[in-house]
């Protein structure tokens, strides 16, 4: 991938760091999305045609991806292109701010494409309409087949400039693809871009696979496989396709996740009716037992600094969330509300823990501070669980199952995402039914 995807960034003109008037506050639910005009990318007339794709089409496609990304945030309102007042080429040089403000645009994105010697050069600029200023201008050169990623990277740059937060568009989601009747589901590991495109299947469906999770560099995935009917934690290299068992203990290993430095896998090991939490160092293969309790201890997740672990245990009778130091000392229960709690996962920002809560027959996705205070339930449904954080800690992706009838009719499993403000709940369209999503970190940092 890296070999293929070589981007270099040039600053064209000056980088404008001056404070502008537009600032999107994403810490609150945004009921008044910022009107943004995303002009189609104008094509440099000196461009060659790329294979069968006309460069003009490529420009439209890139601008459509950017527009879709912004629409999906719920924070922006991309304006209808029919109302646009300036041609893309002129707008890119010097927009007439008064005209754009007439159509209520507060921000404007313009761009230019040049296709030369099998290389695609994409230039874009973000303009602050009310301040009559250019906010950012960047250019990327890449192979044309990477146009989609360029669109995501541009989206991230604009998002970062407008919100002050890291973007999350140039990311992927790994999940479990599900087909077939409920009693005989066929499950495969699948990976897609965060916008649902470029789906690839990583396993064939011959054995049951569950709970895939990325390592920090997004090259490795740890998951549970029932290969040869032995449920064990595995490691998969996405590039090479090589799989290896890492949790080959005399019993079931499950619920794996990487440590934030990617050097260890933390997981549950169940033997003789007791599940405890272990870590394995991937280099030395040294195994450490972290919890020792006769109850079920599972769903461990490291804090981003690696010093703490949150996990799920029923040691108090029913499932609750606990935290402890990474050596297993200082165990503290942090969930005390009505109902039972599961699948705690530490935010990449460190401040919050997302969880699944079950209360009175309903399933909730929620967040609480890492000391257990400030619990907020974001969404209620018949069944939903397994939240995973966007790399900027602003969104959660999870899966939701519907109620089924007598013979399983009406059953579905789908991926959903929600902003941690509780707004902008939406389905992530997948080719098949889907569950157990895990969000990658930013692919280009």
């Amino acid at each position: 991938m890296k070999k293929l995807f070589y981007i270099f960034t040039i600053l064209i003109f000056k980088f404008n760091f001056a404070y502008s008037l537009i600032e999107v506050d994403i810490t609150r639910g945004n009921l008044d999305p910022l009107p943004i005009a995303i002009s189609p990318l104008h094509v440099d007339p000196q461009s060659d045609n790329y294979q069968d794709v006309k460069v003009k089409e490529l420009g439209d496609l890139i601008s459509a991806v950017i527009e879709k990304n912004f629409k999906s945030t719920g924070l922006f309102n991309p304006l209808n292109k029919d109302a646009f007042v300036q041609k893309p080429d002129i707008a890119h040089l010097k927009p007439r701010f008064e005209d754009w403000s007439l159509i209520t645009a507060q921000a404007l994105v313009t761009g230019k494409l040049l296709m030369k010697d099998d290389k695609l050069k994409v230039e874009f600029r973000l303009w602050d309409i009310s301040a009559n200023k250019e906010m950012i201008a960047l250019a990327f050169t890449t192979t044309p087949s990477n146009w989609r990623r360029v669109a995501h990277i541009i989206s991230d740059k604009i998002y970062e400039r407008l919100t002050g937060e890291t973007g999350y568009f140039d990311t992927r989601i790994i999940y479990v693809s599900e087909t077939g009747p409920k009693t005989q589901r066929v499950k495969k590991l699948a990976i897609m871009d965060q916008d649902g495109k470029n789906t690839k299947y990583l396993t064939l469906g011959n054995e049951l696979v569950l709970t895939p999770r990325f390592n920090p560099t997004n090259q490795l995935v740890t998951y549970l496989s029932y290969f040869r009917n032995l449920p064990r934690v595995y490691l998969l290299d996405i590039e090479t396709g090589i799989q290896e068992v890492v949790g080959n203990f005399p019993g079931m290993t499950f619920a794996p996740r990487f440590s934030p430095d990617g050097k260890k896998i933390i997981m549950s090991f169940a033997k003789d009716g007791n599940s405890d939490i272990y870590t394995m160092d991937l280099e030395t293969r040294l195994v450490e037992k972290i919890t020792e309790d006769s109850s079920i201890d599972t769903s461990p997740s490291f804090s981003p600094n690696g010093k703490y672990i949150c996990f799920n245990s029923d040691r108090s009778g029913l499932q609750q969330i606990y935290t402890m130091k990474s050596d297993g000392s200082g165990v503290k229960r942090i969930s005390f509300g009505n109902g039972i709690y599961g699948t705690p996962v530490w935010s990449p920002r460190g401040d919050l823990i997302a969880f699944t809560k079950v209360r009175a027959g309903k399933f909730y996705i929620g967040v609480m501070r890492s000391d257990g205070t400030g619990e907020r339930l974001l969404t209620e449904n018949f069944y939903q669980e397994a939240p995973s954080w966007s790399p900027n800690g602003r969104l959660l992706v999870f899966y939701r199952e519907t109620k089924s009838g007598k013979d399983g009719e009406g059953f579905s499993a789908k991926l959903w995402s929600i902003d941690i403000t509780g707004y902008n709940e939406r389905e992530l369209k997948t080719e098949t039914d889907a569950s157990d999503p895990s969000w990658s970190s930013l692919l280009s940092k």
Partner: protein, 161 residues
């Protein structure tokens, strides 16, 4: 209905008090949570290892304790294994769809091991019994109803060929 529930409750308490083993893993129920009212007692989904020897036992929501009926079934399975010395079995532990996937994997493992422990107290070598958990992955009844869930919370004894 209520009367029946009460009887079952009483029975469970009585049997639990008598049982020698397999109770070590049982937890005190938290107040307000029924621990025995939702155990499946029918035979709809049950298969037989041999005549009169049921292949499965059922559990209450979030629990892995054995009911008196389950103990009876497992004693009969143990008898059957004692008479068929060459036979080995796998105990497949399952959960219903109303829990998180990872917890259910652990719960299925615990349920199957509770059944295994009980059979071992009746003289069956642990070497003849292996255990696997499928969590909520392999329901027998795909409906989203309390009845279906009770049929899915199970440990099934399967002969190894």
């Amino acid at each position: 209905m209520k009367f029946n529930k009460r009887i079952t409750n009483l029975l469970i308490i009585f049997i639990s008090a008598l049982a020698l083993s397999a109770c070590a893993t049982a937890k005190k129920p938290t107040s307000g949570v029924s621990t025995s009212g939702d155990v499946y007692t029918g035979t709809d989904t049950v298969k037989y290892l041999a005549s009169g020897v049921k292949d499965r036992v059922f559990f209450a929501t979030n629990r892995s304790t054995l009911t008196s009926a389950s103990r009876d079934t497992l004693r009969k399975q143990a008898d059957y294994l004692r008479k068929n010395k060459d036979l080995n079995v796998v105990l497949e532990g399952h959960a219903d769809e109303r829990g998180t996937r990872e917890y259910n994997l652990a719960l299925g493992e615990k349920r199957a091991n509770t059944a295994k422990d009980y059979m071992m107290t009746y003289g069956i070598s642990g070497k003849r019994i292996s255990v696997i958990s499928y969590g909520k992955e392999k329901p027998v009844n795909s409906a989203s109803t309390p009845l279906a869930w009770s049929q899915n919370r199970r440990s099934v004894t399967v002969k190894v060929k």
